[in-house]
């Protein structure tokens, strides 16, 4: 938080709630997997976004669906950073922590800034919960939280007492405690409850008891915030100036799903998705499966291989075909991707990366599939690789992936990751007319048609689909003779075809934007990023520039081929720093391609970079010694 609420001194006697204007705030809701933290977080962010407050959300939950209650490993959290200026990360440090039980306090306390606010549900600090959280005594009572401002309230008891006349079952009241916490948070930033109350009315239209409980408990939380006098300040978050237009909150997975339909409409092609459920990509399959009225077809396949091969079949049949997956699934699809390369069919492969290897940490993000995307196929099997850099960028990059796949008749890999796939941000909704047309010309000169003849510019072969009369032909995984497409084992032909396939992908360099640097166009240090690190790098850059550091930022969206001018750009800087959530995969690509020495900054903790980490690293490089941030 740039302009933090003034330091909260326990001896501070200011009892009046004076709204204080601040520009940014980071709030983290944490509780048991079953406490409804994801739900209240989502509702909170919807309410904020709809009144023009910028934000980025970060759902952070365990792989277990309902881990045993009260455990340290069962803590589920939803973090968001909100503010009146451009928000590009979900926040390094927490300003307000909602802790529904002892474990959720314990695992998050390290990230709470000194002077931050804790809203603790006392009910979750009983002896059983304390034991599970490995506390000997309640931290709410030992004084160990004295550097924070603590609101400790037994949310269930408060609700029971205040709402006793409504005759609500104890179970229902207990379940609605997340809305008590939400009520306090709404009060804290003086946020209107009405949109969330309306949502509750819709959600529980057929469950009167739950509706009564949740709406009243929510209200009660607000009142509780108002009445108690621990927190002197109610924060006032100003609205960001958004350009005129329509907006919605969008997550990366949602943006991919919508982007796929948009691409198919702009290409005037039917859409087909072949997919097998896998965390954290499953949501794309779920969204697409709900789009029946948009005429979309999907096949939930028996396995990852059938996911991609059914998509190849649909592509052969003239559809915009897609398969979605995450790392382990991508490994299983490798052989089939070679088939798509060989048959030169358009295909979109969406890989929502997660921490690996093997099952790894399914709900945690990583950028460690870059090599697999680039090289994870047998034989020489080049394909374009793209990476989205934010939730809403997933939409643009999906359209871009479709553009390249159709134009160049090739499978295209789009990398996102668990972070941007699940986090969300306000997105300015484009009108359909603003999107580029992707319509492909399917006309063929029948008299001279050969399956592997090529467009002289793009080197793409014609897309001739079953149903086109007089053009019947056979394709497959065996090496093809140039032009005729007949099976060929000729030595010269294989050399030629391998070079052609490589050249076709390399030529895409002429069809993608040049690398554009933000900041000085030459100098001491360039931070080179790709994918979801963009938010953290951007925030770090703003801080560094405001302090006068000589550093520039370049963010790659096209990873294969790389932008044409990239080599020249890199050589304009004395040092290049590549922060990435892997052990140095882009670093190796850059070094191999440009013989440029690069400093790697590798974080593989299943957590995105913090802006402060990148800021610190840059300072270390520029000043040449460790600098305190």
């Amino acid at each position: 938080m740039e302009s933090a609420p003034r330091a909260l001194n326990p001896n501070d006697k200011v009892m009046e709630a004076i709204a204080e204007k601040i520009s940014e705030l980071t709030i983290r809701f944490a509780g048991d997997s079953g406490d409804g933290m994801q739900l209240v977080g989502k509702k909170f962010s919807d309410a904020l976004a709809s009144i023009g407050i910028d934000l980025i959300t970060f759902p952070d939950f365990p792989s277990e669906i309902r881990a045993p209650e009260g455990t340290l490993y069962g803590v589920s959290a939803y973090q968001l950073r909100l503010g009146s200026k451009d928000i590009t990360t979900h926040g390094d440090e927490i300003d307000v922590l909602v802790a529904m039980n002892a474990s959720s306090l314990k695992v998050n306390l390290d990230n709470l800034r000194s002077g931050g606010i804790i809203i603790a549900n006392v009910d979750g600090f009983d002896s059983r919960n304390l034991k599970l959280a490995e506390y000997e005594k309640s931290p709410l009572e030992t004084g160990e939280l004295s550097q924070y401002k603590v609101i400790a309230v037994d949310m269930v008891k408060e609700a029971k007492t205040a709402l006793k006349d409504l005759n609500l079952s104890p179970k229902t009241l207990k379940k609605s405690k997340n809305f008590f916490a939400l009520g306090i948070v709404y009060w804290l930033i003086n946020l209107n409850q009405s949109s969330t109350q309306n949502w509750l009315k819709k959600k529980f239209a057929r469950n009167e008891e739950a509706l009564t409980a949740n709406t009243n408990v929510f209200e009660l939380g607000w009142k509780y915030g108002e009445q108690q006098q621990v927190i002197p300040n109610q924060f006032e978050i100003g609205s960001k100036h958004f350009a005129a237009g329509n907006y919605r909150n969008i997550s990366g997975n949602q943006a991919v799903a919508i982007g796929l339909v948009a691409a198919s409409r702009k290409a005037e092609l039917p859409l087909f998705l072949g997919s097998y459920p896998i965390t954290p990509a499953t949501e794309i399959l779920q969204y697409i499966s709900s789009y029946k009225k948009f005429g979309v077809k999907h096949l939930q396949a028996e396995d990852e291989i059938a996911g991609v091969t059914s998509a190849i079949g649909a592509s052969y049949g003239g559809h915009l075909a897609v398969t979605t997956t995450s790392g382990p699934g991508l490994s299983l699809k490798s052989e089939a991707l070679g088939l798509a390369v060989m048959t030169e069919l358009p295909l979109l492969v969406i890989d929502v990366m997660r921490a690996g290897p093997s099952t790894g940490m399914p709900t945690k993000p990583e950028q460690s599939d870059l090599f697999q995307a680039m090289f994870g196929r047998h034989g020489e099997a080049p394909m374009p690789v793209l990476a989205a850099s934010s939730p809403s960028d997933c939409f643009d990059m999906t359209i871009e992936a479709a553009r390249l796949a159709l134009k160049y008749m090739t499978p295209v890999m789009l990398l996102t990751d668990g972070y941007i796939a699940q986090s969300s941000e306000p997105w300015k909704i484009p009108s359909p007319d603003e999107l580029p047309s992707l319509v492909k010309d399917l006309t063929v000169d029948k008299d001279n048609y050969q399956p592997y003849m090529r467009d002289p510019e793009t080197l793409a072969r014609p897309w001739v689909i079953p149903g086109m009369k007089g053009l019947e032909h056979r394709i497959g995984g065996l090496e093809k003779s140039d032009k005729s497409g007949k099976v060929s084992y000729s030595a010269e032909n294989h050399q030629h075809m391998t070079e052609l396939r490589q050249q076709k992908i390399q030529n895409i360099q002429n069809d993608i934007p040049l690398a554009e640097v933000t900041g000085p166009d030459a100098g001491e240090l360039l931070v080179l990023g790709w994918g979801s690190t963009k938010g953290a790098i951007t925030t770090a850059m703003e801080r560094l520039w405001s302090k006068g550091y000589d550093v520039a930022h370049l963010h790659l969206k096209h990873l294969n081929p790389l932008p044409k001018n990239l080599g020249d750009v890199l050589h304009n800087y004395r040092n290049v720093l590549i922060p990435e959530m892997n052990m140095g995969q882009l670093k190796m690509l850059i070094q191999a391609n440009y013989l440029k020495d690069v400093i790697g900054y590798n974080k593989v903790q299943g957590q995105p970079f913090k802006a402060s980490e990148i800021e610190q690293k840059v300072k270390e490089i520029l000043v040449g010694e460790e600098v305190l941030s």
Binding site: A49, S50, G52, F242, A244, N246, Y247, R248, N249, I258, R265, A267, E268, L269, P270, F272, G274, Y291, K292, K293, F294, G295, V296, K297, L299, A301, E302, D303, I305, A306, T309, S310, I312, G313, A314, Y316, G317, G318, H319, A321, L339, I429, P430, P432, L442, I465, P466, G467, M468, K469, G470, L471, E472, H473, R474, I475, G476, G477, K486, V487
Partner: protein
């Protein structure tokens, strides 16, 4: 929604269907070994195609890896030679995307029962309208002679020099057990029968599976001679025909009756008549399974013909209907509507 492929994907048969079998013979040389059982499938298929009543450009053959995988190159239609084990998955995507096409799968015992086993069982269950012809030579031929999941116990092959230790799959039983709606079996020495089965499969709406015994004269010669050679076949095979008593033998003097769930051979010259024989019902999956089990018992005649034919809506049809239903109830969705979603807000 109008698309640029609509003109090619229309469900109407508006192309020419006046063909002879020659129209389906490609210019490529067929490269199977001379005398291979696979020819006994290729020729009946080429012969039947003019009767299919579908324009050539609407027919697609999809194959996997193995000797059977070359089949699409020998048909003058659309063809896709896939990767090992995946032809049913590829074809399922093609057919779901393009229900207007007649989609055929050519696979083998290794391709379909081993590496592609998962796609096979789910293909049977899902009931996509495909015609699957599985060449079964009980050996891996293209890799030169290792045992396959249909090789018999004790079989000596290059990878089982002391005999196969595993029991084989009975592919017909797998197909029936996993929900296929059309299941049949034929053998290379009876091309007319194969052509009949192909026609039945083509007319069936849903997942059709034909197991075809195709002799590999290089690596597993005479594997089926014990019941398919001319001089023994009448006594050692039994052809299942819907609504007819199950009778076999060179003099039509043997029959099958059921003793509980157990099929038994009865001698029609020795106290039994045709009336004692089981009357076959190809719409009874349990009966089909019982009859298919006969091929596991060397004492019993080897069953061939159509085991099962069930009328059920196909998956591809269901996909189309579900979309049509949603569009009827909710109206056809526009891109603008999708982009906006339910919770958008306006900034002026």
């Amino acid at each position: 929604m109008k698309t640029i492929i609509d003109q090619f994907a229309t469900m109407d048969v508006n192309g020419s269907t006046q063909y002879t079998s020659k129209d389906f013979k490609p210019e490529n040389d067929v490269r199977w070994c001379l005398g291979c059982g696979a020819y006994s499938v290729l020729f009946p298929v080429q012969k039947f195609m003019p009767d299919l009543g579908v324009p050539k450009e609407k027919i697609a053959f999809v194959s996997g890896i193995g000797c059977s995988g070359r089949f699409p190159y020998y048909m003058e239609t659309y063809g896709f030679h896939g990767i090992h084990g995946r032809p049913i998955a590829i074809a399922s995507g093609l057919k779901v995307a393009r229900p207007d096409l007649s989609v055929w799968v050519v696979t083998g015992d290794g391709d379909n029962m081993s590496i592609g086993g998962n796609h096979f069982i789910h293909g049977c269950r899902r009931n996509v309208d495909l015609n699957v012809m599985m060449f079964n030579n009980e050996i891996y031929s293209l890799t030169k002679g290792q045992y396959s999941p249909t090789s018999h116990k004790g079989q000596i092959t290059k990878s089982s020099p002391f005999g196969v230790l595993e029991d084989p799959f009975n592919p017909v039983k797998v197909a029936i057990g996993t929900g296929a709606t059309f299941v049949a079996r034929g053998y290379d020495k009876d091309r007319f029968h194969i052509q009949y089965l192909i026609e039945r499969a083509a007319r069936h709406k849903g997942f059709s599976f034909i197991e075809l015994y195709t002799n590999c004269l290089i690596f597993n010669d005479e594997a089926f001679d014990g019941f398919t050679k001319k001089d023994v076949r009448d006594d050692h095979t039994v052809n299942l025909e819907h609504g007819k008593p199950v009778v076999f033998g060179i003099n039509h003097d043997k029959g099958i009756r059921l003793n509980g769930f157990k099929p038994e051979v009865i001698d029609l010259n020795d106290g039994y008549s045709v009336d004692d024989c089981l009357v076959y019902d190809e719409t009874d999956a349990t009966l089909a399974y019982v009859m298919a089990s006969m091929s596991d018992n060397p004492e019993m005649p080897h069953p061939v013909g159509v085991f099962l034919q069930l009328d059920k809506p196909s998956y591809d049809e269901n996909v189309v209907n579900q979309i049509a239903h949603e569009q009827e109830v909710k109206g056809e969705g526009t891109l603008e509507e999708l982009l906006l979603g339910d919770d958008y807000w306006q900034v002026n």
